[in-house]
Every structure is written in structure tokens, then in C-alpha cells.
């Protein structure tokens, strides 16, 4: 019996029939007997002392069961955790889940109502009286660091400063024929998962269960225990169906902690679901950096050195991995390029805004944007083709493994192959000719071509390296594989999918590893009572780390099965070959299928002495290295110089994500990723006004592109298997977002460069493009 290999097949996702036909279990769909509904009253002030909170009016309204202010939680609510103290000198301010004496951003919870339904709870919020004594808002990072600036926290507005140096930076810049000096702004973004956050907490008086729209049920459980003092073994966390996260659900939120405390106070189940506007205010935001970049090069374009100086907006508090986000980019600014010296500095700054934290790519899009933008600037300065400048500097395929100037060792890749393929698909030369023609004709619609040859580090992460980076946890992942008596397979994974399709991909991997049909595998996840060990899903880690734990567990199952088969077939284990799901005695037709062996271990009638009667196995995998997907993205953008409108005409992405388990899923990730990166380049921006009010609280103001606003993506792949894991897989969850933003902005700037424009701040809105042109016309 030969079984078709599953890895590499474009399997439709097992998850989808159920999700698409509405047979879903989103947290908000769940209901418990006697369940109450919570709504939070949120600060309308960016910064103020709370002088009085009176919830008594709310308590009198019909349907209201309870109403509380921060004072009511003060003794038990603890402080929301920050698990990544990136430096020795870091300031980690107290972060009460509900503000008690001071609010530091618009949207911070100051009171809550618990009622029999959401409508009554919402009505009752209007009956709560809060008095504030306004304090000055702190909104601009540069001003926040000046002497005499109003303070967000007593300890000042500087959260931390980190500096890393490698090579002789001074020498690299001394007498450098070319130095490019630029400042880029990574605007603030709002991660807009399709499913809003929702929490349901219940108790039987002694122990607690929380359902939450989270990416991290395991981490959340530990943190809830640490924050509230409820013993860890009395807390069970379940992530039911979760509709996207993009990092925004990689968090231990105020609402989660408060719902747990409310369940304890009231002894009843309580549920909270945010509205979209509430989410825009209080889901942690992403990006928000000011990047000062200096690049030194020789006259022929060879890179000498790179200096990076960042201001990273932390917002008002440090949340789970807030300070770690810019640090995830620390080793990525050098990109795929060789250079002699590198310096990275980063200052984390407190402001009176919603805290920032992980958002798809987390640190790496920022770094990739800066280096890929500045490589284009270098090309322009030297009047070279931007692809050629990159060619002169990138790591050649025969140089892998390669240790970069920032100290990472890239295991595999082929930048030449991906770039050549992308140029061919794109029709690069023809588009350049059209561009020249439009320039000559003075066409009001100019054409620009943007290049992005990116890599990124993902597959978070080798625990040892995380430790060196001062992260509080490890980066391993766990899996169990259970052989059921009928030969079916139950996989328990510590990853927590929220749209990624792990059930399908893990089934394909197990089908190959054990020679069982794809349909015979089920995957359990996202419940700490079922998947007791896990590090959850973020940082494109699930396949490159989590699935490898599954592979390792399958290896153990096979070894146990081999022993049992050898016993039953009365041969030595070494005489058995495993193929097509069966052990066969070499050179005979004597065989036992894995299903027969599962049954034999179940009956246990004939198991050798000293051998456990089960094939089930567990494995924990800790990677030795990050994974380094890479690729070349090319964007052709038309810029209407009369209106400033940018339209993407064509987009090519050739990615190398190592071995591909399921091409459909990979393409889906790439599509979504590119869309999200384009969104940063052209559409999205969280805007605060001069008082610190968020202006982009609805989707009429915070513009998300839809399919109609995006071009067809032309995708292809090269395949350089990772050497750091047995499947050769790399992460793909964030590549599109990381690669596409600079490709698009490079294209916009390229279109306008003859008009003297060398940067447009993101998002490149029609008005911004028009104003740049106006500035040049004057």
C-alpha cells in the first residue's frame, strides 16, 4: 500500500465547513446558566486624577446586579504583567486593570456595571458619575523626553534605553563616500481582528474557567494566577473558536482579569464582549516608532555600516511584551545584507495613549521597512538600479549558513533565485520602460516600481536566546499523539490556532509520519485542561516549533510501535521497515499496520514484558535557531499626480518559506499578510488629537482596505528548506506584512522621485501625496 504524500498537498481546510456554515463557538456565542453581562465605563480623559467615582446611580437601575469602581478592586486586582523587561534599567509602572487614582489614556476602564443583559448594563453606565482633575496629556515622544515635560508616570517618560553595537561603526562612517540619513515614522496601527475580544468567566466557588478570544490560553492561565493570586491549578482557560488576532490577542488584558475577579465577587458567570469602537480604543495598538537611520556605503554601493536610533511609543503602560516589540527588530535592520558595522539604539517612551504591543510582524516590519526604504534611497543617490544595489550586498546562496553583523545565523536561503523569479514574473524591464515613457511624456499618472528583498526571524523561539533577551518564558512547544484503539489518531497541540488552519496542517504532517489517512487525524487545542502544556501561537512559531513537537511525538509513537511489531512478528526491530503505515519484515510479506498495533496495545494481550501498553507519546521541541523565511516582493504603483491617488497596478511576491506543508494555507497567509502590509502603506493610521482623544474609533475613520482595493497578487515560491528542523519548514504568518509595506512605499516614492520627492509618510494618503507634490510645485 503506497500512500500519497500529504505534505505539499493543497488540502482544503478541515476547519472551514464548520466555520463557514456558522456552527461555531465564538466566546460571545457561549452562554452559561445565570450568566451576567459586564460593561466598562472608560475614561474620556487622556490624563487625569480621578477625584470621585459614584456608581450608586447605576446600582439602582433595573437589571443591574452590581457596579464597581477601581477602588472596589484595589485590594485584589494586582498589576497587569509585563513579561519582557528588555533592559536592566527598565521602568515597569504599576498597571491596575481598573484605574484607581489616575487615568493615563482615553479608554482606560474606571468603573463597570454587571447586569442581566448588555443593554441594561450600557444604560447603567450612563448613571455613573466620575470626576476628574485633568493632568497634561503627553503625546509626542520627542517632547516627552525633554526636561520639564509633564510626566506619564512618577518615574518619568523614559521606559528604557538599549544600545547594541557590532563592528567598528565609527570606522565604517569615517570618510564614507555616501551616507544616507533618513527619519521614518511608523504610524500607530490598530490590529483589526474580525472577531472582537470577548471573555466569559465562571466559577464553581473553588475553581475558575475562563473562555477568552485569546491567542495564548496557556500563558494567560499562568499570568492570571500570578496577577490574581488564584492558584494556577484552580484556573482553566479555554480559547474556543477565535477569529483572528494578529498579535492583538497575545495579551493579558484588563478585561480578562476583571471578569475573573467579578466571577469571584459575584459567584456567577460573567461575560464581556467589546464593541468595535471600544476595541479601537482599548485593544493594544501596534507599531508607532520614529526611526532615525544612517547608512554608509562605498561609491559602488557596497554597504559599510548602519546606525539605527529608535524612539518606540510604549503608550501609557508596559503590557505583556510591549518593550520587546522594538527589540524583535533589533537584529533585523541589517536585513539580507552584509556590512562591516552595525549600531542599534532604542528608547522606549511613555505617552498618554493606549499601550502598544505585538502586531503582525512585531518589530520586524519596522526594521524591514527602514532597511528596504533606505536601500532604495542609496540606489537613487548612486543612480543605480535598486535591484542591483541589493545584489551587490546580499548574502549569496553559497554563503549560508551566514552569521550577520547583528549576530544571527541565517541557516538557508537563496535571494538570487527568489529575485530572479520575481523580476521575470513582474516584467521588470518592460515596466521600467513604461515608467521612462510616462516620465518623458509628463503623464499625469506616473508609474513607480518598488522593491523589497526581505528576510525575517520567526519561529519564536530558542528558549536560550529568549533568556538572553531577558524574556520571562521559553520558546518551546509541546505535543501529544494518542493512538486510539480503532487506529484513529488524536493530536494534542500546545499551539492555539485562531485562523491559521493547524488542524489541517497537523493532520497532513501526522498522516505522513504515521502512514494514516488524513481523515483519521483529529487535533485538539486551546484548552488548558486538554492541552496541558503549550506556549501558544504568535511570531510564526506554530509550524516551525509546534508542528515539530508533533513530528517528534510521532517519532516516539513509531518507535514504540516498532518494538511491539517486532515482538508480534518475532523479529528484531532492526529487521522492520516502516512504509505506508505498516511495519514489514524486510524481504517478507509479514507486516503489521499501525492501526493493528494500536489495537494490540489496547487489548494488551500480548505486550512484551517491561513495555508500557500504549503507543501514545509526548514531545517538547525547543528550536536551536529562529527560522528565516525570505523573498522578493515587487510592486508597481500608479500615482495620479493631479489627485494624489495611489493605485497598485501589479504586485508580485516570490517567497521562500522552506518546505510547504499546505500550499493553500501558505497562499492564504501570504495574501492576508500582503493586504495588511499594503494597509499600513496606504490606508491605516490611528490618530489622536491634541488632547489625546482617539479620532479613529470607527471603520469610517480607520480605513481598512477590502478585496476591492487590492490588486491581484501574483505569487510564486522558491524552496530552501530550513536546516534547523526536520521538516525544513519556516514561518509564513508574518512574511507578507513584513515584505509588502516597503515595496509599496518604495513604489510610490519611485514614481515621484523625478519631482524631488524622496519620502512620503505612511499611510501615503492621496492628500499627503498631493501635498508633497504641492510643496515641490511651489
Amino acid at each position: 500500500m503506497t500512500v500519497e504524500q500529504e505534505i505539499g498537498r493543497p488540502r482544503r481546510r478541515k476547519e472551514d465547513a464548520r466555520l463557514l456554515t456558522g456552527r461555531t463557538r465564538w466566546t460571545d456565542n457561549l452562554s452559561r446558566a445565570g450568566m451576567l453581562h459586564v460593561m466598562f465605563l472608560r475614561s474620556p480623559m487622556a490624563h487625569a486624577r480621578i477625584t470621585r467615582v459614584d456608581v450608586s446611580g447605576a446600582r439602582e437601575l433595573p437589571g443591574v446586579v452590581a457596579a464597581f469602581s477601581g477602588q472596589d478592586f484595589a485590594a485584589e486586582q494586582g498589576s497587569l504583567p509585563c513579561a519582557w523587561p528588555v533592559s536592566e534599567d527598565i521602568v515597569i509602572p504599576d498597571h491596575p486593570p481598573m484605574a484607581v487614582s489616575e487615568v493615563r489614556y482615553v479608554g482606560e476602564a474606571v468603573a463597570c456595571v454587571v447586569a442581566t443583559d448588555r443593554y441594561r448594563a450600557a444604560d447603567a453606565l450612563e448613571a455613573i458619575d466620575v470626576e476628574y482633575d485633568p493632568l497634561p496629556a503627553v503625546l509626542d515622544m520627542t517632547e516627552a523626553l525633554m526636561d520639564g515635560s509633564p510626566k506619564v508616570h512618577e518615574a518619568g517618560n523614559r521606559a528604557f534605553h538599549v544600545k547594541i553595537e557590532s563592528g567598528d561603526v565609527k570606522a565604517a562612517f569615517r570618510d564614507a563616500p555616501v551616507v544616507i540619513d533618513r527619519t521614518y515614522v511608523q504610524q500607530r496601527l490598530i490590529p483589526s481582528a474580525m472577531e472582537p475580544r470577548a471573555v466569559l468567566a465562571d466559577t464553581d466557588g473553588d475553581s475558575f474557567t475562563m473562555w477568552s478570544a485569546t491567542q495564548i490560553p496557556h500563558i494567560l492561565r499562568v499570568m492570571l494566577a500570578v496577577v490574581t493570586g488564584i492558584p494556577e491549578h484552580k484556573i482553566r482557560v479555554i480559547a474556543p473558536d477565535v477569529g483572528g488576532g494578529f498579535g492583538s490577542k497575545l495579551q493579558v488584558t484588563a478585561e480578562e482579569v476583571l471578569c475573573l475577579l467579578l466571577a469571584r465577587k459575584l459567584g456567577r458567570p460573567v461575560k464581556w464582549t467589546e464593541s468595535r469602537s471600544e476595541g479601537n480604543l482599548t485593544v493594544h495598538h501596534g507599531r508607532d516608532q520614529i526611526q532615525h537611520i544612517r547608512l554608509a556605503a562605498d561609491a559602488d554601493g557596497r554597504l559599510r555600516g548602519l546606525q539605527v536610533d529608535l524612539l518606540a511609543d510604549m503608550g501609557a503602560y508596559l503590557m505583556l511584551v510591549t518593550p520587546g516589540i522594538p527589540m524583535l527588530g533589533a537584529s533585523m535592520f541589517n536585513g539580507i545584507y552584509k556590512m562591516d558595522a552595525y549600531e542599534f539604539g532604542c528608547t522606549g517612551v511613555f505617552t498618554t495613549k493606549m499601550p502598544t504591543d505585538a502586531y503582525r510582524g512585531a518589530g520586524r516590519p519596522e526594521a524591514t521597512f527602514a532597511i528596504e526604504r533606505v536601500m532604495d534611497e542609496l540606489a537613487a543617490e548612486l543612480r543605480m538600479d535598486p535591484v542591483e544595489v541589493r545584489r551587490r550586498n546580499w548574502i549569496r546562496h553559497d554563503e549560508f549558513p551566514y552569521t550577520t553583523i547583528s549576530g544571527l545565523t541565517y541557516d538557508s536561503g537563496n535571494y538570487e533565485a527568489a529575485t530572479d523569479r520575481a523580476l521575470a514574473l513582474f516584467g521588470y524591464d518592460k515596466l521600467r520602460a513604461e515608467q521612462a515613457d510616462r516620465r518623458d511624456r509628463g503623464d499625469p499618472v506616473q508609474l513607480g516600481i518598488g522593491v523589497s528583498t526581505y528576510t525575517e526571524m520567526c519561529g519564536l523561539a530558542p528558549s536560550r536566546m529568549l533568556g538572553e533577551a531577558r524574556y520571562a518564558a521559553g520558546g518551546w512547544e509541546h505535543a501529544s499523539v494518542r493512538m486510539l484503539p480503532t487506529g484513529k489518531v488524536e493530536v494534542v497541540t500546545g499551539t492555539s490556532p485562531h485562523g491559521q488552519g493547524h488542524v489541517t496542517a497537523w493532520s497532513q504532517i501526522v498522516a505522513d509520519a504515521l502512514g494514516v489517512p488524513f481523515e483519521d487525524v483529529t487535533v485538539l487545542h486551546g484548552d488548558t485542561a486538554i492541552a496541558h502544556k503549550g506556549m501558544d501561537t504568535y511570531g510564526s512559531r506554530s509550524l516551525a516549533v509546534g508542528a515539530i513537537a508533533v513530528v517528534k511525538a510521532c517519532d516516539k509513537v513509531r518507535e514504540k510501535a516498532r518494538k511491539l511489531a517486532a515482538h508480534l512478528l518475532e523479529c528484531s526491530p532492526d529487521d522492520l521497515e516502516f512504509e505506508g503505515g505498516a511495519f514489514q519484515v524486510r524481504g517478507t510479506d509479514q507486516r503489521r499496520t499501525i492501526q493493528e498495533l494500536a489495537y494490540a496495545s489496547f487489548t494488551a494481550h500480548d505486550v512484551p514484558d517491561g513495555v508500557e501498553a500504549r503507543l501514545d507519546s509526548d514531545a517538547t521541541f525547543d528550536p536551536e535557531n529562529y527560522s528565516f523565511p525570505h523573498g522578493t516582493h515587487l510592486c508597481a504603483a500608479e500615482v495620479d499626480t493631479e489627485t494624489g491617488m495611489v493605485r497598485i497596478r501589479s504586485y508580485v511576491a516570490v517567497d521562500d518559506v522552506g518546505t510547504v506543508v499546505n500550499p493553500l494555507i501558505v497562499e492564504g497567509q501570504v495574501h492576508g499578510g500582503i493586504a495588511q502590509g499594503i494597509a499600513q502603506a496606504l490606508f491605516e493610521e490611528a490618530v489622536y488629537d491634541a488632547e489625546g482623544n482617539l479620532l479613529t474609533t470607527t471603520m469610517a475613520d480607520y480605513l481598512l482596505p477590502s478585496a476591492a482595493d487590492l490588486p491581484d497578487f501574483q505569487l510564486d515560491r522558491t524552496e530552501s528548506p530550513a536546516t534547523s528542523n526536520p521538516l525544513g519548514v519556516k514561518g509564513v504568518g508574518e512574511t507578507g506584512t513584513i515584505a509588502s509595506t516597503p515595496a509599496v512605499v518604495n513604489a510610490v516614492v519611485d514614481a515621484l522621485r523625478p519631482r524631488g520627492i524622496h519620502d512620503i509618510q505612511m499611510p501615503c494618503t492621496p492628500e499627503r501625496v498631493w501635498r508633497s507634490l504641492e510643496g515641490e510645485r511651489r
Partner: protein, 284 residues
């Protein structure tokens, strides 16, 4: 968010609806709900009662009335777009309605709701203004005609009196020789117009005999680009058209918001008017 408490009635006739409105000054008409429900959910409006007129047959449908087309207020955008009577008699309305939001919203949102809402960023008010449409209001007292020029009073404010319901709109059929275009400038397909320009244009002997231009989102109400209309009269199709459109924003007071400042809107109005006029005149 979550709306505050309100009552809901679904009257069986327009007369009943008028009665319900007259008896409660805090009652509001509910049409397709695509503008009103968002306001309720954000608690920006607290009506006591919603009077749902969305399903009243009297208010639905498109009628060919010889010299004009009558569009019932509760005709959905989608029905308007697909109506052969609209496409033949006043194609500009179909062109503009097709740009409203997305398919789902066009199946719910209504022609009359868009006008009664009097949002200057809506696409249809400027169109009805450009076409010199006449809005028909009904109340317990009877029916009255309101010319479009008198209907839009201020931001989200029409001249409908309390207790009045918009029943429909009369749109004059413009005969042979007229061309039409709606030029909508927006950042994403589902976003509202930053600026929109509705043009109806009569050609004769290679020149522009008459131009009627309505501007979307160039002030607290939809406005006519009167200066450009005057400048375009008699202009030969060709290079002079651009110059004639330069006054498109004259007399407007465009809003400032996250998507555009007033000076940019004025600039857009010129550029887009030129484009719309060219398109309406059949020039490439």
C-alpha cells in the same frame, strides 16, 4: 455599541405612519437603517420610537411619469441601480447609486433615506440637486413638493417638517443630447466620498450648451458648482474645458476631517469636475 431603549412600530400605511410621527415628537422614521442604526448603536441618537416605513408598498418602486421619473422613497439603492426606467430616464441617479457603499448596504439602504438623512457626504443628494429634482413630502395635512434647492438645509438637516415623511422624488427626464457622469473620489471602495461630482451636460455642435453640476461633501449641504456651470456654457469641447472648471469650488465651504482638509477638497473639486465634464461629454 449598544442602543438605548426605544419602541418600534410598523404602520400599515403612510397615513398611519404620519399619525405615529405626529403623536410623538421624538419618534423617528426608520427606512433601511443604514445610517440611523449606526447612530443608535453609538448612542448619538435617542429616539423614543422607530416608525418603520421600509416595507410600505406605497413608498416603493420606480414609476415612469412621462416627463419625469418618480422614485418611491423606500426603493433600495440596488433597485434604483437595476431599474430600466431610471437607467433610461435619469441615468445619473443609477450611476451614482451604484457607487454607494457595498452590495449588502445597497440592498438595505434606500433612495429616500439617503436624501432625508441629508448627509452632504452621501452620493445622492448632490445628484438630485444637480438634476433639479423635486422631493415629495407627506404628512397628516397632505402632500407638498419641495424643490431640491430648498430641501437640504444644513448638515444632516432637511426642510422636512416634524411629522412629515418623504414619499418620493420626481426627477425630470433630460432628453436627447444630454450626457451624465458621477465622479466619486474615495480612499477605499467602501468609504464615503471625500468629494463627489455629479454632472449632467447638454452638448450641441461640439460645444457645451448647458452643464448642471452637483458637488458631494463640499459643504454642510450638497451644492451646485454655479461658477463652473456658467463658465462652461458655450465652451467648445476641448482644451478650454479645464479652465472653465477652475471655478468649481467657488462659494463652497468644504469640511475638514481625517481624510481631507478644505484646500485639498477645493483642489479635488476642480480636478474631478473637469474629469466628470469630460466623461459626461463623451470625451476620452
Amino acid at each position: 455599541m449598544i442602543p438605548a431603549r426605544f419602541d418600534y412600530v410598523r404602520p400599515g400605511s403612510v397615513a398611519e405612519a404620519c399619525q405615529a410621527l405626529a403623536s410623538d415628537e421624538d419618534a423617528k422614521v426608520l427606512a433601511g437603517g443604514q445610517s440611523l442604526l449606526p447612530l443608535l448603536r453609538l448612542r448619538l441618537a435617542y429616539p423614543s420610537t422607530l416608525v418603520d416605513v421600509g416595507r410600505l408598498p406605497e413608498l416603493k418602486g420606480v414609476h415612469d411619469r412621462g416627463d419625469h421619473v418618480f422614485i418611491g422613497a423606500m426603493t433600495t439603492h440596488d433597485e434604483v441601480v437595476r431599474s430600466p426606467v431610471v437607467r433610461d430616464g435619469c441615468p445619473l441617479v443609477a450611476l451614482a447609486a451604484a457607487t454607494v457603499a457595498d452590495r449588502a448596504i445597497r440592498h438595505r439602504g434606500t433612495f429616500g433615506g439617503s436624501l432625508a438623512h441629508a448627509d452632504p457626504a452621501g452620493d445622492l443628494p448632490a445628484v438630485v440637486l444637480a438634476l433639479d429634482g423635486v422631493l415629495v413630502a407627506r404628512s397628516e395635512e397632505g402632500e407638498r413638493d419641495i424643490p431640491a434647492a430648498d430641501f437640504f438645509v444644513d448638515y444632516l438637516e432637511s426642510s422636512l417638517a416634524p411629522g412629515e415623511i418623504l414619499a418620493g422624488v420626481k426627477l425630470p427626464k433630460l432628453g436627447a443630447g444630454w450626457g451624465f457622469h458621477y465622479e466619486k473620489f474615495h480612499r477605499t471602495a467602501q468609504a464615503w466620498a471625500i468629494v463627489g461630482v455629479a454632472v449632467a451636460l447638454k452638448r450641441s455642435n461640439g460645444a457645451i450648451a448647458e452643464a448642471r453640476i452637483g458637488l458631494t461633501n463640499m459643504g454642510p449641504t450638497p451644492v451646485r458648482a454655479r461658477a463652473a456651470e456658467a463658465a462652461l456654457r458655450g465652451v467648445e469641447l476641448g482644451d478650454q474645458v479645464r479652465q472653465a472648471c477652475e471655478g468649481a469650488a467657488e462659494g463652497t465651504s468644504p469640511p475638514s476631517d481625517l481624510h481631507a482638509q478644505p484646500d485639498y477638497r477645493r483642489h479635488l473639486a476642480q480636478v474631478l469636475t473637469h474629469r466628470a465634464v469630460r466623461a459626461a461629454s463623451g470625451s476620452p
